[in-house]
Symmetry: C2
């Protein structure tokens, strides 16, 4: 690589702007650490004159990113738009074909088109790096690709979304409802003001699971419809009952090899409030890796915000400037596996089910009879009457049962007119 490195940043939202400022500020430090001079020669966003947190040099601005990619000499491009397809994909494609290294925090793009783009990068002998796409505050992707490279990983799981972890923590601490706490999260910049859906419904964590399992198991990115549930249906009531049971609700992303098959999932879990994962609170992310010979290793760090994201983007930059070209997923495209999928139907857990029912004789027994029919044994029942409204809340904790069984039960409960709304289901994780 030349002594002078030309850089472009496409997308000047919260992350792009923070990155721009960091690059300007740390210019000298980067030169000391790499022996190369970096220079931002192109920036692009929809709107040149939008009010931004940091002043940008408008002389290098172009509202057309392809103008920058095609007409200026660029060595490394940051894609900071963040769409799973469309312009984000086109920019990355075009840059790679033009022999420009690409760095992106765009998890949805990598989870969807990562295999294709990685092959394109390999074929064009450039880097495609995406450390910032998962848990910015800790170098989890480098850790898998390099630090733990010869370990046989069996399982990788954890808290992958800072927004939902903040909401669940804050509901418990403040005793406030999901809706109120969501507004708080938005006000603090932890949740998207306009559309927080992709955090709340688990999709953000889902993309990260796809990326992590591709790396951990040297696998192609799975196309499987993995189990995905968010936290939208968690009520303060559930958090309070969990507390009574010395449990805590966490949205976990899970990737695991079960019987030589790949299992991936994102769903709320009840975990012990004395466990490590039960005590990772606020916007923190935590990832647990089970491997051989390392045993259990944990990485924990801030998961949300432009600071940790920029930290990861800059580490990718320095890694590219310091080293030769590397494979985006650690190993060559042709050596990556196609592991068969574990059937979600066989996924098995103890379950927490909360029923809101009419307080009539026979309601509880109609529920327990359904469980008995599917041979699901019950570990615990907590019934709380709401005398004034003639209603009751019934929480049932079951022994381990499979997804197929619980799905059948739920379809029967749906027909039960005394069950007022769809029961809230939370899986107990690592619980016997």
């Amino acid at each position: 690589m030349n002594k002078n490195i030309n850089i472009a940043i496409i997308g000047l939202g919260q992350i792009g702007c923070y990155l721009y400022n960091e690059l300007v500020k740390k210019n000298k430090e980067i030169e000391i650490k790499t022996g190369k001079k970096i220079k931002i020669v192109g920036i692009s966003a929809k709107n040149k004159n939008k009010k931004r947190k940091f002043n940008i040099n408008k002389k290098i601005f172009s509202s057309n990113p392809f103008d920058i990619i095609n007409n200026r000499k660029i060595d490394i491009l940051f894609e900071c738009i963040g769409l799973p397809d469309g312009i984000s994909k086109k920019i990355v494609e075009k840059a790679i074909v033009n022999k420009i290294h690409v760095i992106t925090p765009n998890k949805s793009l990598i989870a969807k088109h990562g295999d294709y783009l990685a092959k394109l990068a390999e074929d064009n002998n450039v880097n495609l790096e995406f450390e910032a796409s998962v848990a910015g505050g800790v170098p989890i992707l480098k850790t898998i690709k390099e630090g733990l490279v010869t370990n046989k990983i069996k399982k990788i799981y954890g808290i992958l979304n800072g927004t939902t972890n903040y909401i669940l923590t804050e509901m418990e601490n403040s005793n406030e409802s999901f809706q109120i706490v969501l507004k708080k999260a938005q006000a603090r910049g932890y949740a998207e003001p306009s559309n927080p859906k992709l955090d709340l419904n688990g999709f953000d964590a889902y993309s990260k699971v796809k990326i992590l399992s591709a790396l951990a198991f040297d696998n192609k990115i799975s196309k499987h419809n993995a189990l995905m549930e968010g936290i939208e249906n968690i009520e303060l009531k559930d958090i309070k009952i969990a507390k009574q049971l010395n449990l805590r609700i966490k949205l976990l992303g899970i990737s695991e090899i079960i019987n030589n098959r790949l299992f991936e999932a994102v769903h709320p879990c009840l975990v012990g409030n004395d466990t490590y994962i039960g005590n990772v609170n606020g916007v923190m992310n935590a990832i647990i890796i089970n491997g051989k010979p390392i045993g259990e290793s944990i990485l924990q760090g801030e998961g949300a915000g432009p600071g940790p994201t920029s930290s990861a983007l800059l580490s990718d930059l320095i890694s590219i400037v310091r080293n030769d070209v590397k494979k985006p997923f650690g190993i060559s495209y042709k050596n990556r596996k196609n592991i068969k999928y574990f059937d979600n139907k066989d996924y098995s857990n103890s379950l927490y089910l909360r029923f809101e029912v009419n307080d009539k004789p026979g309601v509880l027994s109609s529920i327990t009879n359904t469980f008995a029919k599917y041979k699901i044994s019950i570990k615990r029942i907590i019934q709380t009457p709401d005398k004034i409204n003639n209603k009751a809340t019934i929480v049932i904790i079951t022994h381990k049962t499979t997804e197929i069984n619980i799905k059948k039960c739920l379809s029967i409960f749906k027909k039960n007119k005394n069950i007022i709304k769809k029961p809230t289901l939370i899986r107990l994780y690592n619980y016997n």
Copy 2:
């Protein structure tokens, strides 16, 4: 680097043997991950015929390591003898001068001669890698050098020695004395059977602190006599009293910039039993990094045993095979700083002091008067009589005070004939 990589392992103790076996077993995997074929062409140890856990190929054995370094074509050498000077240093020097890349888990060598050897490696354009010297189960050095490379780190601290953490945990869990638990640790292979001193007196953690702070602050390895205390004086009594106070004793290694000066220390600390660090138990290591913009990041993993160590050694191997030559400490020797040292005398903490005294009138007041003289205010006193022997245990928790103050107090206590033995001092960490 050539397509075929020749490897030598010098030292065939627990780690050397485990590594040898891993290299043989993972030969094919390494070829897939790097595109290069590795071959072990030389191994060396004092005794060819010693009974070892893994079978070694005796055809490539030489009892003289220099015979291997000088007469065989070696690309990468593993130094697994582990001495801070002598033969370990000579082997590494000779290998580097012969343009051989060196990988070592030898923390005492790096802490003592790391600057000299790193410069030698730079001058000879080869790598010197030592990821395995600190917390084998997590890639902490790579994380600082690469993953968090542009962060401004203010502090790095944690549990750096698995042996002592196992002993402290096991004393609490089993209610057994230091001596009994130490024997248990030796039987399980967590502590050296012949000479566990370097773990117990804090020296092992001390070497790791020196390495971590050199990396975290882009500093030369400090030559300062940092504060170093081990766990040899911790008694079951202290662990029980800590428990009553909802505290737990942990041996922490600390490196921090205080008022633009470098502070380094290793000593037992009382930490809250509801804190993260208070719940890192058994042989686990945990390192907490405070940086900007990442905030707080944590890495936790197994710290003892040949498995995690080999994992780190192999990651260094693959990193060397995959990439160009890198600087051992991330940046060039000439750019590393010489930060001035913080004066240990000004280090300030709340203190736990346990006195064993003759149960006579006036003893407590003579102790508290001494504290008053040095303006050390007392937060709490717990006096437990031992009527049968006419003795008592007095535990005093102080408010924050400096090392110089407490040193003066201790010298006065030394002259007090009613204080039967030297008081046990444990600093309360992050405690106001």
